[in-house]
Symmetry: C2
Subunit: 336 residues, 2 copies
């Protein structure tokens, strides 16, 4: 069948740098977007309007881009990485639906959340539906290895969110707990994106492992950057106040470094015991800003990003490799 | 490896009739139970106590029993149906966790629900974890057909619950909507239990289809019986008042028959508009009891059950076939 140009160009709306990084997989990403949109078109009520809402929500599609880029190193069946990339994005959307529901978040990417627009009741069941749809997509790859990895990823994502909840407002957490938690809630899906892209892209096993390690490191960099932005960001960009993670009881790297450096101060514990007190949050943010903590966290992001690039050293040179390297830089530098 | 007798006998606590029906798969069910319990033993905090709580919750294990019985018609690898039966039971447990959360139910099988014991926040994320664990179990069957069917089932279960929510307090629903809804929310998983049992039991395709149809009909009988019990039951057995579905806005077969027979009365609509009014519920229950509706619903259960038995006509005679026939009778006759 000769198919025309894709109807929806998902690179539309991306900044120039991102569009340039994604260029080796531009057509593939457009097909991912078509697949997600056509899902909403074929479904019937009551699921149809919900699917349309979440698949229209934009986003940078970084996870499907990584899936497709990781698949480009060797000749392969083109369809299967596209199916996988669509599943990875759908899984990401499913986690957002449930995370926003349990966090009672009113907004996501500048739009009302499903929980807020419909109800928490609908959001829980619809999130289940999207999780299952993503898992059904993966079955079309006919590859048991990626299917299993995908289910394990859902377990990791859920357990990461549970860990975050259970450790909230606990000022005694060490850095290894933080690292385990952000691996589960974020880096796990990045790993699965790059690993399954490589598997379906017919890469040899040593390259699959290298690309999985790339996914791990880029995912960790992505989350530490996110956690940093919560302290540095322009609130108008983030849509939330500076230090909002901490206000919600979630310890991230800047706060953990603060506790490591000033073990006898109880700034964080004192804030957790008196959350309504604006002055205490301001004090924490001030101490962090007056120290080298933020640049030191920047260094952690750069270290992960550097490791991500190193993992690609022995892979064949190709435009996708360059894009993965550029993506690591881009994630290190991102400011929103 | 020679293994000793299973540690936990899951037939313990079942009534005599059920234990007798399950006897051809007694050992298999004990292994399913071991598998579910060992899941809790190997996990670490924060998931461990939650897993222990839900896998200790009892229940009749009717879905894993059907999976195992459907696998017994031909020589086969014994391990794979046991894996599948464990996955089916886990999936059922996952749906209960989310259903109880969205319905805000305090009790399930006489114990506090996860949502009630922990919190809705934990219940949503832990439900996701159990869904994903069940999907990971299914991967161990190494059979793409049953893996795909399993994901599609999760979609059907979620969409069935969404339909129930969207059609609640709508007194204009026809019987076909009801049938579609109860297929999705209940019969779908019974179908998957019997179909995947048959596939993994190496049954020929015509028998797989017959056993899937058995699952459909027994599942429909099961749900209509449940809906009937809501009107007939002894509240001390059910743990909820007579007519509680209707009070929650959920139309079931008795109420739909009422509206079919008295299209000009607005008894149900009037109740939906004035839910606090006890007299209106009593009136609906009274009109239903004074009509032939309840015996006619009984007939619907018997018809489904009869069809379930008919689907088995051409299958080879064996103890499992007799158990499936007996199970159909048992579900028709159950009173709690």
């Amino acid at each position: 069948m000769v198919s025309g140009p894709p109807k929806n160009n998902m690179l539309h709306g991306l900044d120039e740098r991102t569009a340039s990084i994604y260029s080796p997989v531009r057509d593939g990403l457009a097909r991912v977007d078509d697949r997600l949109r056509s899902l909403a078109e074929t479904e019937t009520s009551p699921v149809q309007p919900l699917l349309q809402y979440v698949t229209d929500g934009g986003g940078k599609r970084v996870r499907p881009a990584i899936t497709l880029l990781a698949a480009q190193f060797h000749p392969h069946d083109e369809e299967r990485p596209i199916i996988m990339a669509s599943a990875v994005e759908l899984l990401h959307l499913a986690t957002l639906i449930h995370d926003d529901t349990v966090d009672n978040s009113p907004l996501r990417r500048g739009r009302a959340t499903v929980s807020n627009t419909w109800s928490p009741h609908v959001a829980v069941l619809f999130g289940d539906y999207v999780f299952a749809t993503s898992a059904t997509f993966v079955c079309d790859t006919n590859n048991i290895r990626v299917i299993r990895r995908f289910s394990e990823t859902i377990m990791e994502l859920a357990s990461g969110q549970l860990m975050e909840y259970y450790t909230s407002f606990d000022a005694s957490q060490a850095r290894d707990i933080y690292q385990d938690r952000i691996y589960r809630k974020t880096a796990s899906l990045f790993c699965t994106a790059s690993e399954s892209g490589a598997v379906l892209g017919e890469a040899p096993e040593n390259e699959v492992e290298a690309l999985r390690d790339y996914g791990y490191n880029i995912g960790m960099a992505f989350q530490v950057r996110d956690d940093l932005l919560d302290f540095q960001g322009d609130p108008s960009n983030l849509g939330k106040p500076v230090g909002s993670d901490l206000l919600n009881g979630v310890l991230t790297l800047p706060t953990i470094m603060l506790m490591e450096r000033y073990p006898n101060d109880d700034l964080v514990q004192s804030l957790f015991q008196d959350r309504e007190n604006d002055t205490k949050l301001k004090k924490v943010v001030e101490v962090i800003n007056d120290s080298t903590i933020l640049p030191d966290c920047e260094q952690v992001v750069q270290d992960y990003s550097h490791k991500a690039c190193q993992t690609l050293q022995n892979l064949p040179d190709c435009p996708s490799k360059q894009s993965l390297l550029d993506l690591a830089d881009y994630i290190t530098a991102r400011r929103r």
